[in-house]
Structure formats: structure tokens, C-alpha cells
Symmetry: C2
Subunit: 201 residues, 2 copies
């Protein structure tokens, strides 16, 4: 994202009043790239951990394999992280190209697209993690009142690996929350209210 | 929120360039108040529907009462909506006083507080709704692979009333998402990037 204002669309050319602003914008730009890289790596890790998770248990003569498709919330988690990772990959490339070339066009419509997409991804990943954590609580502790028995005492290895996947997805959702704030900042400051920029930071 | 800029803190006094800006700010201000009122009313409705929900079923000589505390997600939903409603009540009063008097102090620290609180409430309510919907899916359809039986065929009235509560909470979470965008706009435009305000709307 062209925080440095290079290549901004006509009519939105910023005026700089010191090095503080440049430093702040550079920091935000770096923080965004780092967070998107973290989000991408952990999103892929979460998918791998969840999708490859499997455990077979034998009950008398009957064999039962636990897999992530047994729980709809885990399928939702994989889909949400797949969506997030695909989108984040595009954003990482955009950020990297922008930092490398410094001449990517930055416009209000593009800022609106990024802001909207970041908001959607943030809420979808948070929702997926919340639904999965609820399922994990049932799997770990059961729900006696509804006679839903705990399953993690039967499938310990499966639950442990799943816990790693959910933890990764949790960090992804936190990263996306912060990134959605950064893109809100990037967008709405284009609709600046006053000329005393950065007064009162 | 003093979108009209009346009573803003020193150093952030806006300069207006036309009626379009005034109309836009007034619309945002009214939209915020309406959304907060909707959020407050439906949040309280969700709490009432969930907390008062109860159904007794007799199995042979054994009586079993279904109540919201049987499911942790519903307790989380009630807490999240209680938190949201309490906070929203304060915000409704602030918005109403601001519109009535037009002289409420508006400062960056206050904008940061409102932005942060809106973000937290939005994500908490979305998370609570997601976790509750996951529980509702289990209650409605069961999870055959885990031998978690569906319970809504036994407690139909209970599930129907609960559905109303979850639907209300869902609308609250959507309202909070939009409100968090409005407060992000209100905050970050104070860190305006350029002087050509509202160019390109």
C-alpha cells in the first residue's frame, strides 16, 4: 500500500510536513507486510494441521476413523483459512511490489476494496474460530445435560493436533483484526477532517 | 458524536466547504443513532428471549427441564449481549445529548475510546453468535459421527424461542459491525491525509 504517497491518484497528492510522518507511514507499511506474512504462514499451517489430522480407534471389532469432516465447524475453519490465505497471498504480493517499486497506483476505490475485503475476512475468521472453539469445548468436556459425550479422551492425538490448528487460526484471526484496523486507517484518512495532520498523536 | 464539528477540541476545528459535507455528516450521525437504538432494543430482546426460554419434558417418570444454562454458548451469548446493551445505552445517551445540545466535546482520545470499544463489542458479538449458531446446528441436526443426538425434536418450543433470540443477536452483531466502521471513519479522518476533502466520493 503506497503509504508514502508515491503514485497516488490525481487529486489526493499528500503534502508532508516532517520526518515523523514518513517514519510512521513506513512503520505501518512494514507492520502490514509482516502481519500479512504471519497471517499467510499460519493460515496455511492451520489448514495443513486440520486437514491431515486423523486417528483410528478400535472399539471391539469395529474401527472408527476420526477426521476433520466429522465436524462442520472444522470444515468452516478450513474454508475460512483457505479464503484468508488466498486473499492474503495477493495482498502480500501487492505490499511487496509496492515497497519494492514504490510506484503502485493508490486510489480511494482500491482502498475501499482492501478495507471491505479485510473487514469480511476478519469477521469470517473470527466467526470460524469461535464456532470451532465451541465445538472443541464440546469435544473436550462434553455436554452432560444434552448427553453429548466428550470424545477427546478417545481421540487424544487427534484433539492435540486439532488444537495446534485452532491456535494457528486464532492468531490468523487476531492478525486480520489488526490488519482491518490498518486498512480502515489507510482509507478513512483520505477523507481527512482537518489540516492539522497528526496533531495529538 | 459531534460530526458537525460543534464543540470539537482545540486544534481539530474543521473547515466546511459546502452543504454536501454537512448533509453527509448529519446522515452519518442519524444512522449511528438509529443503529445504536436498534442494537440496544434487539440486544435486550435477545437476552429476554434466551434467559426466559425453558421447556419441561417427561421421559417415563423422569422430568427434564431445558434451560439456556445447559449450553455454555448461550451463556456467552447472554453475557455478550448484556455487555453490548450496557455499552450501547451509554452511546445512545451520548449521541442523543450530542444531537440535542450540539456542544459535546469531541476529541481524539474520545474517538479512540469509542473506536476501540466498538471494535471489541463487534468482534465479541460476532464470536458469540458464531459459537451459538454452531451449538444450534448440533441441537437441530445432531452430529451422528460423534453420537451427539439432536435435541430440538424433543424440545421444539425451547428451540423455536431460542432461534428468535439468536436471530436478534445476529442483527445486533451486524449493527455493531457497521457501527465499528462508522467509528473508524470518525476517528481516522481526524488524521486526514490531504486537504481535498471529500474529493472522489
Amino acid at each position: 500500500m503506497s503509504y508514502l504517497g508515491v503514485g497516488v491518484s490525481p487529486g489526493t497528492v499528500p503534502v508532508y510536513h516532517g520526518t515523523n510522518l514518513r517514519v510512521l507511514e513506513k512503520r505501518i507499511r512494514i507492520a502490514e507486510l509482516v502481519l500479512r506474512c504471519v497471517s499467510l504462514a499460519l493460515g496455511l499451517l492451520a489448514i495443513v494441521l486440520v486437514v491431515t489430522d486423523s486417528q483410528v480407534q478400535t472399539f471391539f471389532s469395529y474401527q472408527k476413523r476420526a477426521k476433520f469432516t466429522d465436524m462442520k465447524a472444522l470444515v468452516f475453519l478450513v474454508v475460512a483459512n483457505g479464503l484468508s490465505s488466498g486473499y492474503t497471498l495477493i495482498q502480500v504480493l501487492r505490499c511487496a511490489i509496492s515497497m519494492f517499486r514504490g510506484d503502485v497506483l493508490f486510489s480511494k476505490p482500491l482502498a475501499w476494496v482492501i478495507f471491505s475485503a479485510d473487514q469480511v475476512i476478519a469477521y469470517v475468521t473470527v466467526g470460524a474460530v469461535a464456532a470451532t472453539m465451541q465445538t472443541a469445548v464440546f469435544a473436550k468436556a462434553g455436554q452432560r445435560e444434552l448427553q453429548w459425550m466428550k470424545v477427546c479422551n478417545l481421540y487424544g492425538k487427534f484433539c492435540n493436533q486439532m488444537g495446534g490448528g485452532v491456535a494457528s487460526a486464532f492468531v490468523v484471526s487476531l492478525s486480520m483484526v489488526v490488519l482491518s484496523c490498518i486498512s480502515a486507517f489507510t482509507l478513512f484518512r483520505l477523507y481527512g477532517r482537518n489540516k492539522n495532520r497528526y496533531a495529538g498523536w
